[in-house]
Symmetry: C2
Subunit: 349 residues, 2 copies
DNA sequence: TGACAGAATTGGAACGTTCCAAATAAATAG
DNA sequence: CTATTTATTTGGAACGTTCCAATTCTGTCA
């Protein structure tokens, strides 16, 4: 049952050299003679040697473990799955390997997962923090010299690098577009006000409104859960307003879908009777009916970018916290009313 | 810059005991006195000790590394993301940690990834193999006593456990349902014939057709890429047939969506003019218009199940290959024409 | 009091690698 | 032919843990 592991010493014996030489070969050192190198390699193949990284890591610094920890708050959400794929791409081609875990927005789980990763000696961590994560949670990591990159949600106060999408600019573009279509009363729907992302998006909304010379009206800002159900709720309140809005920018696509549902329930057709713009550009956005006009953020790109940043820090051996915001772009489809041949099929229910 | 790592010896010194005792505490041994245990724990907390699993793994068998490797062929596909989440759930609550990698259907990448995982000493592997994976690829793993569980796609010939959904029964149920709606000419569209999954689904289709007393007609089986584009192509051929079918079961949901596209392009309304049934029940299926009737396979359940199976084998220390097929169920929505507002009962075209 | 059992603790040795200083071999210079 | 490089190779000594056998400490019992 128990196979005796083939070690570097077995190889050495079989190849008639010392274990040190084998080690050098393993590391691709230029010190070793071409002849011996190939002989050693041949023997390795023959005996079916597998490198024991654990043992190696014992000697070397943890920076050399070549394991990158990736923690996301909701892998079910295709946004984060895409992000993970982006990370994996660059991490893998750099010869690292990815340790992916999902926290499902649970802070406790997040703590466990990060602790476990630390025990395994990760050389860096990319994390999209669970809601209400304490900025101090990653303190011990960076104190231990392990670079951390926070993505998507930023962690004000934590001295770590972060990379978030340009929420302000995105929201501004969305508002601008709606203004261009002639809307004067534009609502901001959904999202929890206690998050940094919410603040950014709201700020973008406000800037857009003011830049257009429309007055910023607090009444038009209606927060709710950042979900489909939250969207239904928010649009309900918006419709009930005295001076009813004719368009809305939503905290994210889920909210936007909910808003569409809510509109239909009131016999209003999204796109035709009321303009809706989302944020994120999840895959469902383009297949939906009507196709959702939304701000595209390219999660895979963020993943790639974050991974590159992390690798840079790992190689530098020094973690200077830098913050990057990635560009976003407005994707105009049908739900804002500017679509091609107006509501195609979507005849009213 | 370089923090001196806190080791078990530092703890021992500070707590006034030997390193062996500290080790026993770490392992929760009942041999150690309650008083010393709590003192040691206190010191650990105080000094910010972090366990070094790598060092531990060096002494213990690799079965104790508590790392589970998970390899999927396409993480972008929400089906597999869900699967990974399912695995993560049970793996995590068992105190293991997940090493997730994505192969993007590349066999080379798969080989690399698996090799890397092996170097890191995984105690087990769950894999949804890339297309055309050689059954022998996992031979060395099982030879080394590392349990492997193959999910979703099976690997005929490999002596490893596998867990696949009941493709036959699912397809049979789909056909039965269409027969019940009065269809006599039912096509099987999409998929590559060189895969085991295809064979199973086709067999289910055939059984269903024959059980209904309809003759199996090879002409009605039209293979294509298992993608949206493939679906468009397949329905094109189907429509061109002399004795045109009035309904189709599709290899998977992507194909089904493509079929709907193709129908619309020919001014036929899916559900009303032609019945379409998919397979997988991806999340988009219920939001689509018309909502897709499809066979639901619960990827998260497969993930959980697979993880349980793997853990069992790891704990048993013995890997007996067992094969499990999980139940599926037909979810009737609108695209088959049996939806709520029961549109035209698929009158012949 | 001595012997003995049980409970608690403890010093190495071992795991498979890397690193360092030092040894050897080969080549070149004086 | 010795001294000096230069190119290879090589034995330990780590790294941080676990395991084993052995030890010390407390009682208990005859």
């Amino acid at each position: 049952m128990t196979k005796p592991r083939v070690t570097v010493i077995d190889i050495a014996k079989a190849a008639g050299v010392s274990k040190s030489t084998v080690s050098l070969v393993l590391q691709g050192s230029s010190l070793v003679n071409e002849g011996t190198r190939s002989k050693v390699n041949a023997v390795m193949r023959e005996l079916g040697y597998v490198y024991n990284r654990g043992a190696a890591n014992l000697r070397q610094a943890s920076a050399k473990s070549r394991i990158i920890g990736v923690v996301v708050n909701d892998l079910t959400n295709s946004f984060f799955a895409e992000l993970a794929v982006g990370v994996d791409m660059v991490v893998q081609s750099a010869g690292f390997v990815q340790f992916l875990s999902n926290t499902s927005e649970s802070i406790d789980r997040q703590r466990e997962v990060v602790a476990s990763m630390r025990e395994h000696g990760i050389s860096g961590l990319i994390v999209s923090p669970a809601r209400a994560t304490d900025a101090a949670d990653f303190k011990p990591l960076v104190a231990a010299g392990i670079p951390v990159v926070v993505v998507v949600r930023n962690l004000p106060g934590a001295k770590v690098s972060s990379i978030v999408s340009d929420n302000r600019a995105g929201m501004m573009a969305a508002v601008e577009h709606l203004v261009g279509l002639g809307h004067k009363r534009i609502a901001f729907l959904g999202g929890f006000p206690d998050t940094a992302v919410f603040d950014d998006r709201l700020a973008g909304y406000r800037s857009g409104i003011e830049a257009a010379g429309l007055g910023y009206d607090e009444e038009l800002v209606i927060s709710s859960a950042p979900s489909r159900a939250g969207g239904v709720e928010a649009i309900g309140k918006a419709i009930g307003l005295g001076d009813r809005p004719t368009a809305a920018v939503c905290f994210n696509d889920a909210v936007a879908f909910g808003v569409c549902d809510g509109l239909r329930a009131r016999r209003l057709e999204p796109g035709a009777d009321f303009a809706v713009v989302g944020f994120d550009d999840v895959i469902e956005a383009q297949a939906a009916v009507p196709a959702l006009t939304t701000v595209s953020v390219d999660p895979q790109g963020i993943g790639r970018r974050g991974a590159q940043m992390l690798l840079k820090q790992i190689n530098a051996g020094k973690a200077e916290a830098e913050t990057v915001t990635t560009a976003v772009r407005l994707v105009v489809r049908e739900s804002c009313g500017a679509g091609k041949a107006a509501p195609a099929r979507a005849g009213r229910a």
